[in-house]
Symmetry: D2
Subunit: 364 residues, 4 copies
């Protein structure tokens, strides 16, 4: 379903970027989970604009309100609705894009699909839609932490344009990513990235990059063998994010340069558990987790909104030109880090509940 | 749902690699579509083992039978069930893998998930499961051809290990790919690939590579803006295939090395239609097709089954070794080409029907 | 899915009776439908408490706000979210039911299911949940009116306790039902019902009855042959309403007293169309509409909340007694009439869109 | 989805009455359940034609074959496909109904929906479709028996035309229903029913009646509060069966004649458990089981196929007449008993797995 994600832990987002409210309904959340607005606000603040000098300077408070499904601090098992109020739009800010299709934005394709679009701030295609995902992801993380004592999810910026960070994937912690504005755990690379983003902004241009995500503490056995493979659901989750162009799990595209004898992950016994000696599989085999670290990478294109003057076409089908005004992120990656984590948490939480459903205690 | 794919054009596959039958049920197929077993058999023959000297020499006939949903050569609107009988297994062929987990196969993760597995030939994780997908894809292609007169889908091998083909993506045709055993339209590269695959087989090893897929004739407006973005559903479809490790649409990972001013696709008027001057978007913007060619790439790892002796662990949790016997594909890509096409057709057909559902004729 | 209804026109409700907001998200609504808060408010006012002297005297304004999915008065194709703010609860009003399970309410079964419940005003089991259904039903009615020019849906009270109304099902109009507080088109019966409800209220007791619903203007061909038969989806829709105990379509339970030769509806030609001479089928044959009037009846039990002192058990598992205080409906039927209509509209709108999806114009 | 039933225990049926095979795919079945073809065949034999002198004398063997999902006698967790081969149709038997719409059958509505139909034996609308439901129900019963040690499901004929059986609902056992051909536990009534059915058959006519179903051993807590109420899903399940016209749970339509003070089920402590003194609720409150017996009643119309000459219309839209030939059930109820049980088991098994999904062990 278009605006719903998940089979058992089902997240429905709604809202455009302007007018009224933006929000999420979470259906299928187990009861008795401790959850507060502060838990959710913490994650929302990580994706909020204006949090550092390299993100857009727009100020959006994005205060969340839980309006149902939580009672005296605990989930009820009924739908959790979380709302964030939009700021009032200044209609005149959008007069130009009401008449012109912004290149590499969704303006034209929405118009083709629906024959109507909310041209204020991108409408439903606005990245504000991800607020609901991040809010739901905060709840999913809680559940995963209850189910799996060593659960941990860490996303970080691994590359910005030509700058590639050096990161020890198996030891990196969330605090390492959070300690700078770029959310890159390699401090030297982070500095260069920060400087590059500043130059790019001054040049009225934009850049993209790669976010890497590592998940630890997921036991073997999550995922479904055929269409709902864990990597398939992760790929869908990531490609459903604005500005993403690619996804790879484990060895990814690099696997195409290896031979089977190099790529296969031999099994071995370690501390009484079956483990793999290497982890080219990225923690998933045949669509099902094997107990190793799950890791994947997501490619983000450079932000489509740039200050450069661009050629385009008007809604009346005439050639024209367009220059973005206002304050935009020259690079979305730092703010996308918590969103990648949220989507990964949604996928894993859903599969965790699905696994619970088929585990009959009487047959253990 | 684990074994069902699609919202409106819904495909459910079933069957393990050995014992009984393997098949597919297609629910939601429009009525009155001409379809025959020959149409489906044609596609099944493209994925069949033993079709050329670079694929596995196992002989599997894979004759399909339509057992419901088609009457006097036309679809009824009721579920189409298509069956293919499995050959009888020789139980002794699988005695070793009943007791040992094959590296980078799904044996261990299935065991962890279900506490039981059909160890004959990989059971449900066998690539035979894709027979049902290809059969359903043949029906989806028919529907897309009825809906869109210029519809065309072409997948081909773009890379094997270090050999990268040179292909003009915008002019390549299915017959170009079909004219050699590797299914690579660059004849020179195809020859080198064929030779490499032969060497790799003799060395008891395996290789992977990249399949590229181009879809033409899809109008602007297919896809959903949020979770069911066209690229998200394509990513899921591709990562749900055995042996895949990555997916990229349009510019893909290469986008991370570009600036916004280079990457954006300017709109322009061409022959009275709104078009983009470049196509880094890969035919999809904001999750919705924009009328340009849709193209994407899929990374396949080297086949996990190799003749080399490998370290592994037994089901009784002891260190052991394993060497694959029998006839296996040293490279899955040539046979995966029709499967990639089939999955792309399933995604597009589903979105085409979804789009029909919301197009109220009275509001045109 | 527990809180989502429909396959293509998908309605998700959320909210408990107290605290925060109650609302609905409609996903899959076609674009370009004229819709306003006034359209929705009109239907909400029909279900509102305090609208007449025979309904509860609680004053609830239930003002709706459309917070997304509508732009300049027309639907966008994106999710429509509609919110209604709850009044602040007086916590002390619910102290008793926090500790005691109300007979024939959901208090105990919720506790058994979730191990936690929002004891304020019934929480999620409150009839306030139906606000979201009625709001979504208003949108569904709009769509059905666009698709089918003669579309009309009329529900009315056909029986209260022992008083059975005489109604000409084929000529009754919504205005006939709306002209009295009981929503019964038989004026004489309506008077007796009104008087009975008054007496019952004074006696601190409650009564139930039957609502009948007629739908006109639905063409032949809506519905699905097997599990999603039109009557099956209507039955589910009606039994999902609070206080319902039974559903019958067409001849219903009375069919069990007829012979096939009496019950069968002969086909005949009338004004150039295939019609049935009688309509025991209730407009549906084999799960699919046949173009005749669709009609069905729904049994509602007497309201569970009564002023009588009742035996029950406390949450600490001790025998106790309970008397309801406050203002409650002694008979829910008059206010349930618009809810029955709304649910019927949701079912029919969903099937109308499903039918559109499989109608390939090229094959007409 | 049209041909799929259930959220977690998902059953997809396929096949028409003639040509090829009819069958079912069960997805979401937990692994390690003992299941054999004999278990399934036992239930299929209860619905088989020709099992007694009051059912149709057509001989259909209906031998089932499990073609996937079961290995060495236990479920694998992968899709279970079960097939039954159809007998070859004698095309000439159906020449007349190819040209004429049978009254109160689905011939006309299918034609209106799809513009095509398989006129052999009713095609997809044939009661043969229920073979798949019964096969899946056999698996569901197994799972429910594993989960709930006292689980028991008993359906029986409670009424045929004007003959109403006297049955002690709380003590009746399956063997009581199985001991006569009518499947009515009241022996005296059963005799009269059997005699009536014989007369009706000789008169070339048909009769309907009521099947009652009791389920014991379901704990409190199954079902969902809003749309997927247990009674709503049961109502849908029953109305999705051919020839059904009504459904009532607990007190049902009789509740409309009671006052709240009579109808409410007081809670009381019994043997240390919370129980209700009466059970007008039918074991479900607010959509969720309360631990009492679940019971409901289903109205079946008289069989549409009768030997009487009937008025109808031809496919070329001319008035004509039609008399059924061949051997048909003059009363479907005896054979519908196992189908009612199967559908109830599917609903309950699905909700049992859904409940497992949200029960986090760490929070007990």
């Amino acid at each position: 379903m278009a605006n719903t994600f998940g089979q058992l832990f089902r997240v429905t987002t709604f809202g455009e970027s302007h007018g009224g409210e933006i929000g999420v309904v979470i259906d299928g959340c187990p009861p008795k989970i401790d959850i507060s607005e502060a838990d959710i606000q913490h994650e929302l603040d990580r994706r909020r604009p204006g949090q550092s000098k390299i993100t857009t300077q727009r100020k959006e408070e994005d205060r969340c309100e839980i309006v149902s499904g939580v009672f005296e601090g605990r989930t009820l098992g009924t739908p959790i609705a979380i709302l964030v109020r939009n700021k009032d739009a200044r209609r005149e800010d959008y007069v130009e894009i009401a008449r012109k299709f912004r290149p590499s934005h969704a303006d034209f394709s929405y118009e083709a699909k629906y024959g109507i679009r909310n041209w204020q701030g991108g409408g439903r295609a606005s990245a504000r839609e991800t607020i609901g995902r991040v809010a739901a992801g905060a709840v999913a993380k809680k559940i995963l932490s209850i189910l799996y004592s060593n659960f941990e999810i860490v996303a970080y910026v691994a590359q910005i344009h030509e700058i590639i960070a050096k990161i020890n994937r198996s030891s990196v912690k969330m605090k390492d990513a959070e300690k700078n504005a770029v959310r890159c755990p390699d401090i030297a690379a982070a500095k260069r990235m920060e400087s590059l983003i500043g130059q790019i902004r001054n040049a009225g241009d934009s850049v993209g990059g790669v976010i890497e995500c590592v998940v630890r503490g997921i036991p073997a056995g999550l995922g479904e063998p055929v269409f709902d493979k864990l990597e398939a659901d992760l790929a869908k989750a990531m490609l459903s994010l604005p500005a993403t162009k690619g996804f790879e799990i484990g060895s990814g595209f690099a696997a195409t340069h290896m031979r089977g004898s190099e790529h296969n992950d031999p099994f071995e016994m370690r501390r009484g558990r079956i483990r793999t000696a290497t982890n080219n599989s990225g923690g998933v085999q045949g669509g099902i987790s094997n107990g190793e670290e799950i890791y994947f990478r997501v490619a983000f294109k450079p932000t489509a909104t740039i200050a450069h003057e661009q050629k385009t076409v008007s809604t009346s089908r005439e050639q024209t030109k367009l220059s973005a005004r206002g304050r935009h992120d020259p690079c979305v990656l730092p703010r996308a880090v918590p969103i990648v984590e949220a989507m990964a948490a949604l996928v894993l939480c859903d599969h965790a509940l699905r696994q619970q459903a088929i585990d009959l205690p009487a047959l253990e």
